[in-house]
């Protein structure tokens, strides 16, 4: 090895990625870090404030409530989408002409732009003219998502389930398709019940894709902004003001750049921490 002359030109090959990552992630993140420790009154005049904004965010009632709403939303969405997605994947045919039909149908909601999804559900759920809202009221339910917090939440969760369950379905379906026939044959010979097949073959074999599904759904639902802002705008009152909506209010509504920056960093760290917790618990005891 020692007779090789080091060729530093290879660094040029890495450069595009370095530039891309720098402008895409590092520079914006550092700007936020920069804001989070300073105070500004406009005119590009900044004063150093240390950890003041962080202390403020962590002690703020408003942040705590937004975070609670966010956790509730993500919890509900995961609790519904994962079992539902796996159930649909199990029910989908594994062979034959219906496979591709099903897959295309399943992929449809994922292809719709997020603000369109919000607008669709906004109109669908309108209590007077929306198909869903009107039908519910016609059937005798007192439903008005623009006024009732519970109705707003139900609509929000239903919309996310409609939009994103497909992702879990597709991942789970991929996991199921990768199980060799021999496993099912062995289970039939061993006299395993349908539940045992699910519990001891399908679920363990889907574990990896489900880990990915949980992480993706957790991160996406924890970051969600577009659909709820179009659907409810965070209301009624603050009932559906999730963390991201609150953050935008602080940053762009009130133009409090320092507190907003501190809030984003705390937000980011919470996502990072929870993702790590999910990942380590789900891959624990796995043989590499």
């Amino acid at each position: 090895m020692s007779d090789r002359t080091p060729n530093q030109k290879a660094w040029w090959l890495v450069l595009p990625v370095v530039v891309l990552v720098a402008f895409n992630a590092v520079v914006p993140l550092m700007t936020v870090v920069n804001y989070s420790v300073q105070e500004t009154f406009g005119d590009n005049v900044f004063f150093f404030e240390g950890v003041k904004w962080f202390r403020e965010v962590l002690h703020s009632e408003r942040f705590r409530l937004s975070l609670q709403r966010q956790l509730l939303f993500t919890g509900l969405v995961l609790a519904i989408q994962l079992p539902l997605g796996v159930a649909i994947a199990l029910a989908m045919p594994r062979k034959g002409p219906w496979v591709s039909v099903n897959l295309v149908l399943m992929a449809m909601p994922l292809l719709i732009p997020w603000n369109v999804v919000g607008a669709m559900w906004n109109i669908l759920a309108l209590p007077d003219i929306g198909l869903l809202g009107h039908t519910l009221n016609h059937l005798g339910f007192d439903y008005n998502y623009t006024r009732q917090p519970v109705a707003a939440w139900a609509t929000l969760v239903a919309m996310d389930v409609w939009h994103w369950t497909s992702l879990v379905v597709l991942l789970a379906y991929a996991g199921l398709s990768a199980i060799p026939d021999a496993y099912y044959q062995a289970a039939r010979i061993d006299g395993a019940s349908g539940w045992a097949v699910f519990r001891f073959i399908q679920l363990p074999k889907m574990k990896r894709v489900l880990t990915i599904a949980v992480l993706l759904r957790f991160m996406d639902s924890f970051n969600i902004y577009t659909e709820p802002i179009v659907l409810t705008g965070g209301g009624p009152g603050n009932a559906t003001t999730l963390l991201s909506i609150d953050l935008v209010k602080v940053a762009l509504g009130q133009f409090d750049l320092g507190p907003a920056a501190a809030m984003s960093l705390v937000y980011f760290l919470i996502i990072l921490l929870l993702s790590w917790v999910f990942y380590t618990t789900m891959t624990k005891g796995e043989v590499q």
Binding site: P180, A186, R188, I189, A196, F200, P204, G285, V287
Partner: protein, 362 residues
């Protein structure tokens, strides 16, 4: 335990009707005696696994019936047939311990704790798995996993039959030999009907009392290892079994005698003169060819050492004839004459023997 009978069985995977080549299994009738050790031998893709899956109930035959004893089980699912099957590639339940893997088939059938424990211990001891019992099955090597698969096949005491589908493919050679003798030993102890699928003649001939040789979805011969060796019914059997395989010489039938290149050759008498236009071959194993003062003139072209004997390759024109010569026996330098043992020389017409079968079978 029960006798297994297959009657007028045919199977194809594609549902639409097609030509004869569509049948993965061409019509066959087979019977395995209760408590026998059997092998299904044939090259890859000959239909062995299909046949095995039909016996276990994983596949339903397109035509024909499967009987266990007197009962028609053709329509029954695997668990109702009470059969065990071990697959070519290891199947283990990853999240369970080795113990739970072995206990799984028993627990599914509602066996009590104590009974499960006793059986699992016994099978684990048999397969040297005792120390691994508390471990997670997922972390084991390929042959460790296959031992678990074998164990799950053997753990139920009351099965009608145990089917093995090339179970030792992934196992190390030295362990392979040991497991094979274990299976044989186990059969002698349990006397459960066993059917062992393999493409390896050594495995088949050492394990089984009765071997079924298949090729291209067809059963060519069913018999004891000795019968397959001494009286192959088909040229494929002659060639597939034995090392080296049977010599096959282009032949003719003239004036009531088989001839090779015009020279008369003594062989087992045909039941009837071969049909005109049939492709005739004379088959004789290298074990039953010897050098003689007169006979078929040949040229010695190659001698290879195979341990206790030597394989001598000779040529008559374009035709290669191999023979075995014991160690220490002289081999002529160049020109020589060969004689065949008439009791072990058969005339084959279109691949099938013309001689009467052993024991008078057709």
């Amino acid at each position: 335990m029960a006798r297994i009978r297959l009657q007028h069985l045919r199977h194809r995977y594609r549902t639409e009707a097609g030509g004869e080549g569509d049948w993965a299994l061409k019509q066959l009738d087979l019977e395995w005696a209760e408590g026998s050790a059997n092998a299904l031998l044939g090259p890859s893709g000959c239909g062995k696994t299909t046949l095995l899956n039909i016996i276990s109930g994983l596949l339903r035959p397109t035509e024909g019936t499967v009987r266990f004893g007197e009962q028609d089980v053709t329509a029954l699912p695997p668990d109702a047939r009470n059969i065990a099957q071990v697959f070519q590639f290891p199947v283990v339940y990853d999240t369970m311990s080795v113990y739970d893997n072995l206990a799984f088939p028993l627990r599914n059938r509602g066996l009590g704790r104590a009974a499960v424990h006793e059986r699992v211990r016994e099978i684990a001891a048999l397969l040297d798995l005792q120390e691994l019992l508390p471990q997670r099955a997922a972390g084991l090597t390929a042959d460790g996993k296959q031992k678990i698969s074998l164990g799950r096949g053997l753990v139920r005491a009351d099965v009608n039959a145990i089917l093995f589908d090339e179970p030792l493919t992934v196992i190390d050679p030295h362990l392979k030999w040991r497991l094979r003798s274990k299976l044989k030993e186990l059969h002698q102890r349990l006397r459960t009907t066993m059917i062992y699928v393999t493409h390896d003649q050594t495995e088949a001939l050492t394990f089984a009392d009765q071997v079924v040789v298949m090729n291209e979805g067809q059963v060519l011969q069913s018999g004891t290892p000795v019968e397959l060796f001494e009286r192959p019914r088909h040229t494929f059997v002659g060639h597939f079994i034995g090392s080296p395989g049977m010599n096959l010489l282009p032949a003719t039938w003239e004036a009531g005698a088989a001839r090779f290149d015009g020279l008369p050759v003594d062989c087992l008498p045909p039941r009837q003169p071969p049909r005109a236009g049939a492709r005739l071959e004379l088959g004789v194993r290298p074990e039953f060819v010897r050098f003689a003062a007169d006979g078929i003139p040949v040229q010695v072209t190659k001698i290879s050492d195979a341990g206790r004997h030597r394989v001598v390759e000779t040529r008559h024109g374009e035709t290669v004839i191999r023979l075995l010569v014991n160690e220490g026996e002289a081999v002529p330098a160049e020109r020589a004459h060969l004689r065949f043992d008439p009791a072990h020389t058969q005339l084959f017409a279109d691949g099938w023997t013309t001689a009467a079968g052993p024991g008078g079978a057709p």
